[in-house]
Each structure stands twice: as C-alpha cells, then as structure tokens.
C-alpha cells in the first residue's frame, strides 16, 4: 500500500515537470502554423494550420544559409578542438603533466566571461579584416570549446586503463599505433558525445555571434534575433526559425545522453 502512494506522488510530480517543460514547445509549434490574423489572439486554440511561415522561412529567406553558417562554425570548431585536445588530453592523462593544477587551469579557461575577450577579439578581427566572417567566430568559439572538449577527453582517456596500451607496446606497437588501435576505439562513443556537446555549445552561442558576424556570415541565433525588427516582430516566422534551431540539439541529445551522464559523473566526483 505504501508503495502505491509513493508511486502516485512520483508520477504526478513527474507529469507536472513534463508539462512544465513541454508547454513552451507546444506553444512554439502552434505559433509556427498559426495564421497571422490570429497571432495576437492567444485565446484561440483551434484553427486551421497554415504553412505560410514555414515556406517563407525555409525557402524564401536567408535562414537556411545562416543555419549552414552555424553548422560550419560548429563543425570546424569541434574538429579543431578534438585535434588539439586529443594529444593534450593524452599527455594529461597518461603522463600526468602538470598534475591536477594544470587540468583545473584548463577548465577555468572555459569560465572566462566573453566580456573580456569580445573587445580584443572584435578589434583584432577588425584589424585582420575577418570581421563578419565565420573565421572570427570560429576563433571566438574555440576559446571556450577547446577547454571543455579537452576536459572531457581527459576523463575518457582515464577510463581506458593504461595497461592496455602498455600491453600493446610490449607486443610491438609504437605508442601512436597503440593509441590508434587500442585506446581510440574505446573512447569513440564518449568522443562522439563530447563532439556533439561542443557542437551544441557552438550552435547556441549568441553573444559572440552577434558581435562578430552580421551580414551574410550570420549564424542562426543571430537570424532568430533578427526577426525582431523595427517593424515589429514576425512571430510566426521566428517560431519556425526557433524550431529549426532546436532540431539538431534534440536529435543529438537522444544519442548523447547516456555517455554524458557517465562522463560527467566521473569528472564531477574527481573535480
């Protein structure tokens, strides 16, 4: 009998939480298909959906192009992060370079408020004429994504016992081969999770994107903000853009969740 009561409480609280989370999404979806005459009538819930906004945004605007910019920036940043982070993380994990202190310093790099860097980055981008280009943004994004990915990679490397590579090296492989054939396959899922996380961080950034891009190099978040024009807000189209921006994050999350929890858990305790 006790069990039943507990279950009822647990599930009703959970339902409330779910409702709380889903409500705004439901609103978004509804708004994206509401005819413009009804936008300002929140009390009207039943109507025939109109795909005008979707068509306008998907086919008649720069949004897909901006989304592409976001993708490019994200992918390039993540690639740089992994390329730079892997050897570093290997060094931290296997050789314990710098001890715990250096690792904390790396993590603290992520904590630097964008405020500090935006001014010089802006000025430097201006000087090197890469303002309003994705390169400036990539540079800005690496400042916080490289440290995070390195941090995750350290955790993943630690999960692979170094005896495995040592065995491989005794068996005749070079360290590099041992890494590629023994360590790397074991961290692949975690690496994928970290890459996705890094991509999402880049995808979502608004502050740097606003300052460093503007014209055709705009990224999606900036485009979304752009729907708030001096003419008022085109809510329906904005809703479409928002939903578009949510899709990669959601899909990624479905795959990434499990590894995330593991990686964060082990780091959290050690941290």
């Amino acid at each position: 009998m006790q069990k039943l009561g507990l279950n009822v409480i647990v599930y009703s609280l959970t339902t409330i939480a779910l409702f709380y989370v889903c409500f705004p999404f439901a609103w978004l979806m509804m708004t994206s298909v509401k005819p413009s005459s009804l936008i300002f009538r929140p009390d009207v819930l039943i109507f025939t959906p109109r795909m005008d906004s979707w068509i306008a945004v998907l086919f008649n605007s720069g949004v897909p192009g901006y989304a592409l910019n976001s993708i490019i920036v994200g992918v390039v940043t993540v690639i740089i992060s992994i390329g730079v982070g892997c050897p570093a993380a290997y060094s931290f994990s296997r050789f314990k370079t710098g001890g715990n202190k250096l690792r904390l310093v790396i993590l603290s790099a992520e904590m630097i408020p964008p405020a500090i860097l935006i001014v010089p980055l802006f000025l430097l981008a201006y000087k090197f004429r890469i303002l309003d280009s994705i390169w400036a943004l990539i540079a800005a994004h690496t400042t916080f994504i490289v440290p995070i990915i390195t941090w995750f990679l350290i955790g993943f490397f630690e999960e692979v016992p170094k005896e495995l590579e040592e065995q491989a090296m005794v068996d005749g492989l070079t360290r590099l081969k041992a890494f590629l054939w023994v360590v790397f396959p074991n961290i692949r899922p975690g690496l994928a999770a970290a890459a996705v996380f890094g991509f999402i961080l880049s995808w979502n950034d608004t502050f740097y994107a606003l300052m460093l891009t503007g014209g055709h190099s705009k990224t999606l978040p900036v485009a979304i903000a752009g729907y708030w024009t001096f003419r008022g807000v085109e809510i329906s189209k904005m809703a479409v853009a928002m939903l578009l921006s949510v899709i990669p994050a959601l899909t990624a999350m479905v795959f990434v969740q499990k590894h995330f929890i593991r990686g964060l858990g082990s780091q959290g305790i050690k941290g």
Binding site: T14, A17, V84, T142, V146, I200
Partner: protein
C-alpha cells in the same frame, strides 16, 4: 603512478603533446586577454581611433564611482544567487524523482533535459511572447484564474528573468546531480537500511554528505555560467525597465558596442573576472576545510 616516456621517445614527449593546445589557446585566449588588459588602461574609443591615450588606472577608478556599473553587478549577483539556488533545489528534487522511476525513465529524462539544448536567445524570445501582457498565453490563463500579473514590470522583471533561466537550466543541474547520485556506492546505503535509519535520516546523513563534492562542482559551473547571462536580457528587456534587469555582460555590451568605449568595457570585464575568481576560490577554499575524503 606517473608513466614515463619510452626509451625511443623524446624525453619531453609529454610537453610536446601539449604544444597544439598551447598554440591555439595562446592565439585565441592569451593574446586577446593580454590585449584586453592593455586596452583597459587606455582611453580607447572606436569613434576616435586616432586619439588613443594612456590613462593609467582612471578607467578603473571611474568605474568604482559608476553607479550604473555597480547596479549591474548587484543585479547579476541577485540573478545568480536566485537562479542557482532554485535550480539546485529543483534539480536535486527531480534527480531523486527520476531515480524512483521505472519504465519510462529514459524517455522522461530525455524530455526533461531538452530545455538546456535550445539556444538561449530562442528561449528568451519564446518567453517574451509567452509572458507578454497583451498577447501572451500565460497571462491569459492566469487572468482566467483571477491573477493579474505583469511579468516585466519593475518589480517582477528580474524575477521573470530568473524564472526563465530556471526553466532552461534546471535540467543541467538535474543532469549533474543525477550523474553524481548514480555513481554513489551502494554499500553505505544498505548498511543504513540494516542500521535502522528511515529514508529521511538516510537522505540527510548519508546521501547529501556523499553528494556534496558533486553539488559543489555543479554549483560552481552553473554559477559561473549564470553570471554570463546576456541573451535573455537582450531578447526581452534590453536592461529595462530602467536598469532593473541590466546584467553585467549587457552593460559591457552597451559600453563597448553602443557607446564604443572599449577601454571602459575592458576595465569592466576585468573587475568582473576578479570578482568571479575571488568567489570561486573562496568557495573551494572554504570547502577544503571541511573533511575531504
């Protein structure tokens, strides 16, 4: 145990492996950081680039008397404390709840985590319209219940921003705390059961203490992140009404990109960093004094 390089490897391989990381961070982090520091001592205005003068500490001293600056610091502080405490509380509650779920656990967890993956500016704009007094859905339903609330009035605007942050970032705390809970050893809990402790006693005396390291890390990470709040302010209130919701990053943005006073902007951000560092270090230091097992 510290591994050593193999006989055939350069004896400093461990440092060579760090070179790419160091190069990247030097270019994008260290150099701009230094440059920013440099600028903060100058009168650097984008509108008069040929008139850059060294002004020593005057940017900093000006700030110490600048009311609007300190207002934005205090707003940010209120925001961080408010948001993080609510998120920690809710996150802990939800994590405990999730642990008790049976069948649909993974699905429910996935759904509950979605808010943190949406780009913050979208979240800001979304709530802007949801909470808008004229056309927002929420005030509509609330007034049907007899409650009239203007979410972005002087009194409530800061709270509303806090609540938006809570909507988006509680899942983050949930995630970290859940990860911590799952990695706790089973043995002490079984011992507590046999020792006769009630669920509540066990929670207070075993679960929470064992969870402390994870919670501290989570609070620090979330706290530092929260202090960077910008998107909600930009999307909804632009600092208003008045300067009730002007947070520090927005203030820097205004200073640097609306008024183009880069030197001041740089100085502001350095003071912010100093405050942050002090806060983080004092939290860590303070907690090191409690038993570290």
């Amino acid at each position: 145990m510290i591994t050593a390089e193999l006989p055939s490897e350069r004896s400093l391989l461990r440092y060579w492996l760090l070179v790419p990381l160091a190069v990247v961070l030097l270019i994008v982090l260290a150099y701009p950081f230094g440059y920013s520091f440099f600028i903060s001592f100058h009168n650097y205005e984008l509108t008069s680039l040929d008139d850059i003068r060294f002004v020593g500490l005057s940017n900093y001293t000006e700030l110490l008397h600048d009311d609007s600056y300190w207002n934005s610091i205090s707003n940010t502080l209120i925001f961080v404390v408010g948001a993080v405490s609510i998120e920690t509380f809710l996150g802990l509650g939800l994590a405990l709840l999730i642990q008790k779920l049976g069948v649909f656990r993974n699905f429910i967890l996935a759904v509950l985590l979605t808010p943190m993956f949406i780009t913050p500016i979208a979240v800001g704009l979304m709530f802007r319209f949801l909470l808008n007094s004229q056309m927002g859905v929420i005030p509509l339903y609330l007034s049907a219940l007899g409650i009239e609330v203007d979410w972005f009035s002087s009194e409530l605007a800061l709270l509303s921003i806090i609540l938006i942050d809570v909507w988006q970032w509680t899942p983050f705390m949930l995630l970290l705390i859940l990860a911590g809970l799952e990695s706790l050893p089973n043995a002490p809990f079984e011992a507590a059961k046999v020792d006769g402790a009630t669920a509540w006693f066990t929670f207070i005396n075993v679960t929470l203490p064992l969870l402390r390291p994870v919670m501290v890390v989570a609070i620090i990470i979330r706290g530092v992140d929260a202090s960077k709040v910008f998107e909600y302010v930009y999307a909804i209130t632009r600092g208003g009404p008045g300067d009730r919701t002007e947070m520090i990053l927005f203030h820097v943005y205004k200073e640097g990109f609306r008024f183009f006073r880069m030197g001041n902007a740089a100085a502001m951000s350095f003071i912010l960093v100093t405050i942050l560092l002090c806060a983080v270090f004092s939290i860590i230091y303070f907690l090191k004094f409690k038993r570290d097992y």
